[in-house]
């Protein structure tokens, strides 16, 4: 074999690293690729489809898919392709906002419980365990119905974020608990670091993969709760989120009117979002826990 020039080596280096990453973390790569495809769809879609098409009564209602309306139109006179293109980011937005809130709250709870232990541990772990067993969805129904459906995307995100903190709390707590006794934490403590400094400089960097996985789980929980509420009609009334699209489809009996283009595309989008998130979360698990790498 010929001796590579420096240029070649750098090139093969990049390729080697990429293929190596793909081989070591196939799930994470697949998940991120699916996410990228989704983001491209959201970014490129609006170039071809004007936002006006999502307005109620803007197009002729009840048309089956045609060249003009690729996914047909619904009874409310909206173009379904436009609804999907402009509604998908709204659903993702609800999930992301609620996921961030859930992650921040859950991480704080988890750290307090794991780091300080004792009473705090009993309080926060207990709260998370109890909140996980009860069907919290019904509490959301109580809240959302009391608001009389006067919600927008932001309020919806806030409501569902109250279900998104439990998984992060549990994950972070158990990791902090095992990390607390490790050698490097002991050394940091002996060398006079304060609690906050230990948490910020020693623990959080080591927890990043777990934080990532918890975040993904929190987003999944939030989106699931959100489309559940929306199926009851308890969502942003004037926004074409995926859950509301399905609600209106049910409301106007889209199934028995054979309007598959009304209810099927949102289901595909939702399933795609969940599959992407599940795969990323499994990929992050592999990333965080090397023992899992060989198995799948």
């Amino acid at each position: 074999m010929a001796i590579d020039s420096a240029e070649d080596q750098r090139y093969t280096g990049v390729v080697w690293h990429t293929t190596n990453f793909v081989r070591t973390f196939p799930l994470l790569t697949a998940g991120l690729a699916m996410l990228l495809a989704l983001l491209l769809f959201i970014v490129i879609g609006p170039i071809f489809v004007p936002e006006e098409d999502t307005r109620v009564g803007y197009v002729i209602p009840d048309q089956s898919p045609s060249r003009e309306h690729l996914l047909g139109t619904n009874t409310m006179g909206q173009d379904m392709l436009a609804v999907i293109i402009y509604g998908t980011p709204l659903t993702l937005q609800i999930g992301l906002i609620a996921g961030v809130i859930g992650l921040v709250v859950g991480t704080i709870f988890g750290f307090v419980a794991g780091f300080f232990g004792g009473f705090w541990d009993n309080l926060f772990r207990g709260a998370a365990d109890v909140a996980l067993t009860i069907p919290g969805f019904l509490i959301l129904v109580v809240i959302a119905s009391t608001l009389r459906g006067a919600t927008d995307v932001m309020t919806q995100a806030l409501i569902v974020s109250s279900l998104a903190w439990m998984f992060p709390t549990r994950t972070i707590r158990s990791q902090v608990l095992s990390m607390r006794e490790r050698g490097y934490i002991q050394i940091a403590r002996r060398s006079g670091m304060g609690n906050l400094e230990i948490i910020g400089r020693e623990m959080v960097p080591n927890l990043l993969p777990y934080l990532g996985a918890s975040f993904v789980l929190a987003v999944i929980t939030a989106i699931l709760a959100s489309i559940g509420l929306e199926a009851l009609g308890l969502g942003p009334q004037n926004e074409p989120t995926m859950g509301m699209t399905i609600y209106w489809g049910m409301y106007y009996t889209a199934i028995i009117r054979d309007m598959w283009w009304w209810w099927f595309p949102p289901i595909v989008v939702i399933t795609y979002i969940f599959a992407t998130l599940y795969i990323i979360s499994a990929g992050l698990d592999q990333f965080a826990n090397p023992r899992l790498r060989r198995r799948i």
Partner: protein, 335 residues
């Protein structure tokens, strides 16, 4: 089982009951205006008091009923006391009917659906997951795994849409919805039972298909761990038949942690079942909740949410207390 664990666990149950009741007390009071009162007034004015009911009279009766003239702490105590007795007051949309009566009719439907679907899915899913981790499993097990795992990514009620479309609308094999043939009188006779069963197959199937993957994945993880245990190696060394090792050595030991997972998942399954019922118009708690949400019937909404939370709390309590009897390895010692 140490007695302080039992007491603590029962204590947690009562905290759940208290919290669920308190949420129902606080939320309407925290929201601007009084949603129950507003709705009541609106309802009665819209109806024109056709049934000879005077608006003011009903509202006054309602306020006296809830003791809204009393100080807040006393209202709270009264509310807790009534709630514990399952007295949620009258339904707003079907006015004098107590909430409990409307729930009572729907309860058996939901219970039958959720219990059957959960048991079937739990057993099939666990068995399937165990086979996934077993080297000697038949080939179709591995071949079908992508399908089952994809199903797990679809929320329960969305799966229901697809099932209705294919099997009811296109094929016409099953009814399009409802719990029984319209016009028949619910009763304990064979015809009605068969009819009700036919109506419940698709709702149950969407619950089963959607949860199967969850149980399978959990069980698979557990089986992988169990297979590394010394007693399985010993059993292999003894030359026992693979079938015997699978059922008696690996499966039995991997199965028990699944029961813990069941306790955790129950709330989730019931929330999902509520939505599945709506899609199918199945006459259970979910459809009742849907109607209540659409007519802003708050007392029914609050009653249902309290009842389901307590029911799940109770089921989890029983599972948690029964688990050590099933699995002697579980000890409640301090970590």
């Amino acid at each position: 089982m140490p007695i302080d664990y039992v007491i603590k666990r029962i204590g947690v149950f009562f905290i759940i009951v208290w919290a669920a009741a308190t949420v129902n007390f606080l939320i309407p009071r925290l929201s601007p205006g009084n949603p129950i009162r507003d709705q009541l007034v609106q309802q009665l004015t819209a109806g024109g008091g056709g049934a000879g009911v005077q608006v003011e009279e009903v509202v006054a009766a309602y306020e006296a009923r809830f003791g809204l003239d009393l100080p807040l702490w006393q209202q709270y105590l009264n509310f807790l006391w009534d709630t514990i007795q399952l007295d949620f007051g009258p339904s707003i949309s079907r006015f004098p009917t107590p909430v409990w009566n409307t729930i009572q009719d729907a309860l058996p439907w939901t219970f039958a659906l959720v219990a059957t679907a959960t048991i079937i899915s739990f057993i099939l899913g666990s068995l399937y997951g165990a086979l996934l981790a077993w080297p000697g499993a038949p080939r179709f097990v591995h071949a079908s795994s992508p399908f089952i795992l994809t199903m797990a990514a679809v929320p329960y009620y969305l799966l229901g849409f697809i099932l209705i479309y294919i099997f009811s609308f296109r094929m016409g094999w099953f009814p399009l919805g409802g719990g029984y043939q319209l016009g028949t009188q619910p009763g304990f006779n064979l015809d009605f039972m068969l009819d009700a069963m036919r109506h419940s197959i698709l709702p149950a199937l969407s619950l089963i298909l959607a949860t199967l993957g969850f149980w399978a994945l959990q069980m698979r993880g557990m089986m992988v761990t169990v297979q590394g245990e010394d007693y399985v190696t010993l059993a292999e060394a003894k030359g026992l038949r693979p079938r015997r090792i699978f059922f008696r050595y690996a499966l039995r030991n991997a199965m028990l942690p699944q029961v813990t997972a069941l306790a955790l998942a129950l709330g989730h399954v019931v929330s999902g079942a509520v939505l599945v019922e709506i899609v199918f118009g199945y006459p259970g708690i979910g459809t009742l909740l849907y109607q209540a949400v659409r007519s802003f019937d708050y007392t029914v909404i609050y009653g249902i949410s309290f009842l389901i939370i307590v029911a799940i709390g109770l089921a989890t309590l029983i599972l948690d207390l029964a688990l050590p009897l099933l699995d002697p390895r579980i000890k409640y010692s301090r970590e």
